[in-house]
């Protein structure tokens, strides 16, 4: 890898490595957890297919590894998507769960469950379609004179999000109780019973789209200085913005299809990463890794918390991410 010399600032690199290590460690801890407990070495051996414990091999491979891979993948997706939209809108509120894309995916999923009830695969497809449609509408309404982004994107997005939120509630009221309950469960977001069927699409999306965003990250950073400056510096302004948005919307839609709407990771992860790295670059890689760490940490918490109720991951991310962000923001002097 000598030809590809990515020169990240040392601090950014350190934060990235630390987050990756934390994610891996938390992932292993999560895989030890469950009805049957496994030791650290059991999990490691099973993950690498070296286990002589057939029970561990089966439980880890069929149940716990896909769940953890899904959690990590969804975290990467949401972290990078959040970093992208926060940069494009130049606003910390510009994350896909606030500007309507996640709600759009939810509308697709809920509509499928209530109106057609064609099973989980159809729900995932409907969520992706819903997310993409919502994004297309937000983009079409916020673009003006061939220029998108900024405050307008957020306002239009919040409007569309509120509208779709109302539609979701209407759909829930319209459906029969069973369907409504099923839809409601989907809406709180869950990692329970996630198999390779869920993990693989997320992993594919990460492999295909995350590199696109990593490359676009620097152009996005320049776009934060204004379209004229970015263009003068050789950024293909609208092309760059559209590519990044499309990739980020794709990541959001696939992630939401896999686990339902996840609160707060897209909003908090890039902000947390930026504060840790103290860098003015778009926190694309570190934001994605922070998203993964948050997701796995929340998954671990939902499983290990000594409370009787089952806490869905979507609620836990809101709790943990929210507290962490508040703590970080209140103890720093700048915003």
């Amino acid at each position: 890898m000598n030809a590809l010399r990515i020169t990240a600032a040392p601090r950014t690199l350190a934060v990235g490595i630390a987050l990756a290590a934390a994610t891996a460690l938390l992932g292993v801890l999560a895989m030890q957890t469950g009805t049957i407990k496994f030791s650290f070495t059991d999990v490691m051996a099973a993950v690498f297919g070296l286990s002589d414990n057939p029970q561990a091999g089966m439980v880890i491979h069929r149940i716990r590894l896909p769940r953890t891979v899904t959690a990590i993948g969804v975290g990467l997706c949401l972290g990078a998507a959040g970093a992208t939209f926060q940069s494009i809108s130049r606003n910390a509120l510009g994350s896909p769960d606030i500007i309507g894309f996640t709600t759009g995916a939810a509308t697709g999923a809920v509509a499928q469950i209530i109106l057609f009830n064609a099973g989980p695969a159809a729900t995932a497809v409907a969520a992706i379609v819903g997310g993409l449609l919502a994004a297309a509408v937000v983009y079409a309404l916020s673009v003006r004179g061939g220029v998108s982004g900024g405050y307008r994107l957020i306002l239009v997005g919040i409007g569309i999000g509120a509208l779709l939120g109302a539609v979701n509630t209407l759909l829930l009221l319209k459906g029969n109780e069973d369907m409504a309950l099923q839809a409601q469960m989907w809406l709180s977001g869950s990692l329970a019973a996630r198999t390779w069927e869920h993990a693989v699409p997320v992993a594919v999306a990460v492999v295909l789209l995350l590199p696109v965003l990593m490359v676009q990250g620097r152009s996005l950073g320049l776009l934060e200085m204004g379209d004229d400056v970015a263009r003068a510096l050789g950024v293909r302004v609208e092309a760059s913005r559209l590519t990044s948005m499309a990739a980020a919307v794709g990541l959001t839609a696939v992630a939401t299809a896999a686990v339902g709407p996840i609160a707060f990771v897209a909003l908090a992860a890039p902000q947390l990463a930026a504060r840790l790295t103290r860098s003015v670059q778009v926190p694309m890689g570190t934001g994605a890794l922070m998203g993964a760490a948050l997701m796995v940490a929340c998954d671990l918490l939902t499983q290990r918390l000594p409370i009787a109720v089952h806490v869905p991951i979507g609620l836990m991310t809101g709790l943990v991410g929210g507290c962490y962000l508040l703590w970080l923001v209140t103890r720093s002097r700048s915003i």
């Binding site: 030809a3 590809l4 010399r5 990515i6 020169t7 130049r90 004179g145 490359v215 620097r218 950073g221 320049l222 934060e224 200085m225 204004g226 004229d228 400056v229 263009r231 003068a232 510096l233 050789g234 950024v235 293909r236 003015v280 700048s334 915003i335």
Partner: protein
Amino acid sequence: MKTASTHLDGSDVLSGHALDLGYDGRRISEGLDVVIPPGSFTAIIGPNACGKSTLLRALSRLLKPTSGHVDLDGRDIHGYRTRDVARRLALLPQQSTAPDGITVSDLVARGRFPHQGILRQFSDTDKAKVAEAMAATGVSELADRAVAELSGGQRQRVWLALALAQDTPVLLLDEPTTFLDIAHQLEVLRLCRRLHLTGNYTLVTVLHDLSLAFRYADHVIAMKDGRIVAEGPPSRIATPAIMREVYGIECVVITDPATGGPLVVPLEPDGVSLSVPADSLQVPA
């Protein structure tokens, strides 16, 4: 006259041909022809809304002409990849936002973007060019300061350093002295003049202040209502007739006691005297 001068191979550095320019169907210029003399320090002057900045935006390919074409090094500027334009031509726009918390050196380093790629990141050349740009604009000692903390004059020099770090033969500046006090205006224009005198740059700036334009530029383009009324060296543009046509003002042109160049002194209408005793005008010997 210098206007006819060209590259050795016969092509212009930067020129516009039969340009129709406007925004959202609002036509600003029609059939505009303009040649920027290579190696010149060109100032575009004219009243508000005369199309100065629009012309500069067209010359920097930020605005695509509805018809006609801008040529950079003899080829249509819109035929280049935007990154290739950015290696030949830098622009200091009127409006720009520094990202929160960015330091001076980080901001100036962004000027190296067009010279980098996915595979070629920040190199020693980049480092040297950034240091050079910061030294030329006198912001080296501000390197680690946050851009947001700087004064208006310092900030403008930092943005200028960003454009210089791009290391392009052509430099376009859109009203680089707006919002600056006279000391900082002079500072920025003296820097432009120094760059011009090195012979390595073709500078084009939009300027509002006539005395500064005539003092520092060596080629002036006077515009009105989207048309070029006159162009040439300051001594040929700073005339009562052209000032009347461009700005609708009456003036006398005297010799600037400090530089020997032309100085436009507006007259009051109907010969009203402002009753300044002649002996209160102090001219250093």
